[in-house]
Symmetry: D2
Subunit: 406 residues, 4 copies
């Protein structure tokens, strides 16, 4: 059935000017980084659920991550979080990853879990605390050098809960001061990816509240600073794909933290709440990937796709499999957009036609296409099934409860 | 200065038809319940800050709560949370409270901190878990009888994170089934206060998502079931004072959980984000308190005003002092509304005049009024100052870190 | 290609327990009412665009609506708006519709376009204005009897812009009083569908602000009063499918006004912003359609599906074609959900599996299925293409500019 | 009573380190521009209410605006909208204004009320339409030179309703191209104030959707381009005062369009929905006005305060009086913040103290202060009362209905 389905899809796409061979090649280039902390226990402020079989060490986290890559071919790197993934010897961690066919991806400093950071880390009014926070950033740059990581992902919980609690403009200056120091420590090929978030855990103001603040800071720091878009960090109604297109146009889109949300930073499995939004993000990216401007194409080709979720009621490894597969599905659909058809309709002021030309691609069932790609890559057609049929999930139960958590 | 200020305010109010003596009497009736858990450690999913001096036992929580009442005269009862406040002998807890001039207020069951409740408590698909949850509700009814509490406050974390995860309508039936059993266990003078919340910790659907669902359930259960409005549990833009007026009109407003929010369920100190909203809530309540319908006046007079916050970066007892004082301030302002003036403007289709008649009361500085009331009640004019000048805050530091938390 | 595609889909669905023959039968029962006003000019407060060829009379609107039905077989009735569609002889309008294979659908009173209603219609403090408004409602009941319409759709712009502007509870009583009088005028088979809206054009409070207020009013009026869900009338984040399931469970879901929104009541073409939401609404409806409770099944089978949009930059008839086709697509996808698979996963506490079982159906391309249905119904496979290839769109240009608008 | 009240307030403020004489001087500098269109008829998409006495010409609008200034001393300039205020001889309009003690303020181009702009003005895919739009901008620069206006306020309705409808990045380039041309036409003392808006009338994407896009564009254009903050143009939850502080810090805050909103761009009378927000905006401005950096102080001193509302159910002139008075009230309150007290609390990590130091100023009744200022300025103590007691409101009824509207 699978072959006939692919054949049919191929004919259908050919008829509308889409070459599936080219699509398959692009699909094979998709890489999605999974986060080490996504394999550990997590939860909400009301409850963290402890699951059996959760990894106890950074090494075990990487082993779990390797499973996701093994069955999908999509997840060849793992982001780490310091100090959650602090080890004595990062070379060893790196070798461990490499032995499993993985790389260590972005390094994520953690500046929100020590008592001293209660009123801010790099934006704390106390110089000593800012110093400590900056030192941690520098430490992470050093770790990245040891793990061979290109990117440092920066998310700050810094902000205030009440008007007057902090001096907004002074904090802005302190943020810039700290990140400037960090920037100078980067090797030339390294990047700082600056995340933003509208609220939580700060509930009055967040020092980097929106893309504009991250972008403006990146512009001041220099070309190695770019913006990281977490799909759950916007106010209700924000048009994320617009922001994505905008940042690409300014050549400052560094990457994504993918997850799903319906309300706040819900941190659910990516692609489960509004799959069309994910598709539309890829539409903007793929459109820009054909731009005449080489700098724009360069920006697009360096986008880091990363998962950052806090799925807490699901099985960990399957949750991550589902996540990367959902991203792949929407990426595949976006590859079926016929951009000429869209442009033609735009040029004719044909609103309905242009909208249809985009949405049409979303309506296709890309399963035969994904099967074909997996077959060519020697991967199981149904990665989730294959993983569940393996013994890995049962074997790790021996780890017991009480593994890594945050 | 204080006397002259009061005199001036009195003349000013008299000139606009407001009798400050009557206002003072109403102010003296205001009672705000504080929550035992508001004295313990709390935080966000990112970090719970452990503070020195936090109470270690339910008895110590009540001692802290007594401080708030001692300096304000506003907080004569304490809500408890089971099992956080589980003790062997509730009679002893009650006596302890009474010895400090307090009552035990609403009993709050906790159905969200055990592993079994991960996919629901009273709405869990597993009958045994529902049984356990219902038993806990019944246990809380029993405790309420022992503590002499009139109200049981019901907040459920129950809900789902994904479409399909649960059967929405079956869960609705299970909720009703469980609460019906609980309802039958109530003594005739007791009340169930049914809270609702639009999201968190469930991020797709919450079984009791809005006032309509709580209200409809209360109607089915019977007259002892009423709705509890938590000011942080609504979607952005919801007009809370409209809901309040509506529920009073249906005689089903049971009470409030007061707190402040700008984004989600931020759980900040009440009255700090948008004080006007709190004032407008009291406007609706006070307007209804003059209704011709006795049933409506009865509903109003039984409203339970309760604080429910998760202030995590502030000193605990001062945070609670500020909270009850903020409520008092807005209540006082609302008492200065001249309802005849509002009605007259409404009757003349004078939109600007009607709006002004309400907002005008908000603009008055009620400090002299509050000072007068405190003086008459033998309370310190500045309760916060008086508490901070006392040794209590320092004395409790001996409790050390690591007290009660959730 | 079409036949092979259908065959493949049929095998595929059979393998997962879905019988396409049954699905096709259900698809043939889908009826979506289009609104007469959707064929006229519309816009935003900033600009109403006048288009050439817009119908000049209620008769021409019905002719345009007939085009939508002709090519899709989906839209056999037209809702009318009074006084926009006021005619001397409603029997004539009805005959005109019937001669084109259509019925007159819901009658929509208009209580927002006269100066007198500036501060309210049925909730106006002025008794004479309330009387006039109620008389208009009664007039619409009478018209419905003449047009053979079962449903009266009630949307009220009534509300206030400022605190104090109106007495919320008095207005609530006036609303009930007016609708009670209207209710008594209904024939036994007729229904009142009570819409709600969180804001606009009133920006402080809307008298019927949410489903709870419409539902509660319907309960007081009697079994012929039900709730009408407009998909654009909720606050950001509201879970509409939850509300749908809830209302069905209470047997009070009367119908829908379909449209799309990303921000407020954007009134865009249904299915263009978040198609998954529309699918999830149908998931709840179809699940309930299999309920053991006959009353629930009855409620489901009487749901009125109606379009209510204000597409202003698109060609009118094509916009409506797209709308009904989008609804059909999501309905078709929802028909492919295997409810047993969902339930099994729920019973195993398999969160990922349950979510997948629902979303999986959304991923199928239903084009072959829709083609098959259209073929069996003697309809063009591509209704939009067929309409655009016809001369109708050009012929009506003779109507010129300046047709019906609101 | 008034004198005693002022005396008391003065003592009270002196005791906390606030010199009321200095405050009064600052109050006398406050200037709020009112918009010519705010005196005409307006409404929502559902209905524009025609009022008697609405001005029929730009000259009459200015006469009405002069009334607002006459009674408040706060509104010495009037913004104009082209072509709504198009006249043959702008010198004559200017003289007319000056004869009434007013200036012509910001010139507002209108690029949203012609059919050609349906799919965009400066971002239209059609070069001829972009040319026409740019020419209109240039025309407005020319008018500004004739009227002696420093500022051109730029709000664009440009955007799309659907994914694919337009090419987001191309439109971004066209916007920049058009505004660059306009920028070059400015005289050295003139400014472009670039507004942004998250949605409406475009419901998928707006070309200038947030402050970041306006700011980035201003940075590219040059120092005469600044950002205009309309308080109703943000997504729910946006912290406007944070944006204000941020823009001041970058020396790019050009001005405000004040109005109130609870939901979307409700355009209600400023200060009626959440007065505390307005106060907090002034807190940030006044804090920055004391900055050591002269460039920051300069930015602050050039902020243009403008009203931009669409009050449609109120009497026009009284609505504007209320608006400027509400702004004055919150400005006065913000002047009572003791910034040293705030800073001290911040430096002690005293969250509660810092919050209180800000909110405390909001709680004062500034009526005696405003009375004193008005008395010193020879203005009526109650400007609204004075206007209503004048014959102006009755006299203009002779204009009849059907005046200017949009």
């Amino acid at each position: 059935m699978s072959d006939r389905a692919y054949q049919l899809l191929e004919e259908q796409q050919k008829a509308r000017g889409i070459n599936l061979d080219a699509v398959k090649e692009q699909l094979k280039t998709l890489k999605i980084e999974t986060p080490s902390w996504g394999y550990g226990d997590s939860g909400t402020r009301f409850k963290v659920y402890q699951k059996e079989g959760v990894p106890r060490t950074p090494f075990e986290k990487i082993e779990d991550a390797a499973q996701v890559h093994r069955y999908t071919g999509l997840a060849p790197s793992v982001a780490i979080h310091i100090p959650w993934d602090k080890v004595d010897d990062y070379g060893k961690l790196r070798s461990h990853a490499e032995s499993l066919g993985l790389k260590i991806g972005a390094v994520n400093p953690n500046l929100f879990q020590e008592d001293e950071y209660m009123l801010g880390s790099v934006t704390n009014a106390n110089e000593k605390i800012r110093r400590k926070a900056t030192d941690h950033l520098l430490e992470c740059v050093q770790i990245a050098k040891e793990t061979g990581s290109r990117d440092i992902s920066l998310w700050f919980a810094d902000g205030t809960n009440y008007p007057g609690q902090g001096d907004i403009r002074k904090r802005k200056a302190w943020m810039q001061e700290s990140l400037s120091e960090m920037y100078r420590a980067l090797d030339p090929h390294m990047r700082m990816l600056i995340e933003y978030k509208c609220f939580e855990p700060a509930f009055y103001h967040t020092d980097l509240a929106d893309w504009g603040m991250s972008y403006n800071l990146a512009m001041k720091l220099g070309p190695q600073a770019e913006v990281l878009v977490d799909t759950g960090h916007h106010l209700q109604g924000a048009n994320i794909e617009h922001i994505v297109a905008y940042l690409i146009d300014e050549k400052r889109l560094g990457g994504f933290h993918f997850n799903s949300r319906k309300y706040a930073d819900d941190d659910l499995i990516v692609g489960t709440t509004n799959p069309y939004e994910l598709f539309l993000i890829f539409y903007q990216i793929l459109l820009a990937s054909k731009d005449n401007d080489e700098a724009i194409r360069n920006n697009v080709s360096n986008i880091a796709y990363m998962i950052d979720q806090s799925h807490s009621i699901e099985q960990k490894i399957p949750a991550m499999l589902r996540s990367v597969l959902n991203v792949q599905t929407q990426f595949a659909k976006a590859l079926l957009i016929n951009h000429d058809e869209v442009t033609d309709a735009q040029n004719r002021d044909d609103v309905l036609g242009a909208e249809d030309a985009v949405r049409k691609a979303f309506e296709f069932d890309v399963t035969p296409l994904l099967h074909a790609v997996r077959q060519e890559q020697g991967l199981p057609l149904d990665p989730m099934r294959a993983y569940l049929d393996s013994s890995y999930g049962k074997d790790i139960l021996a780890r017991g409860k009480g593994g890594a958590s945050w």
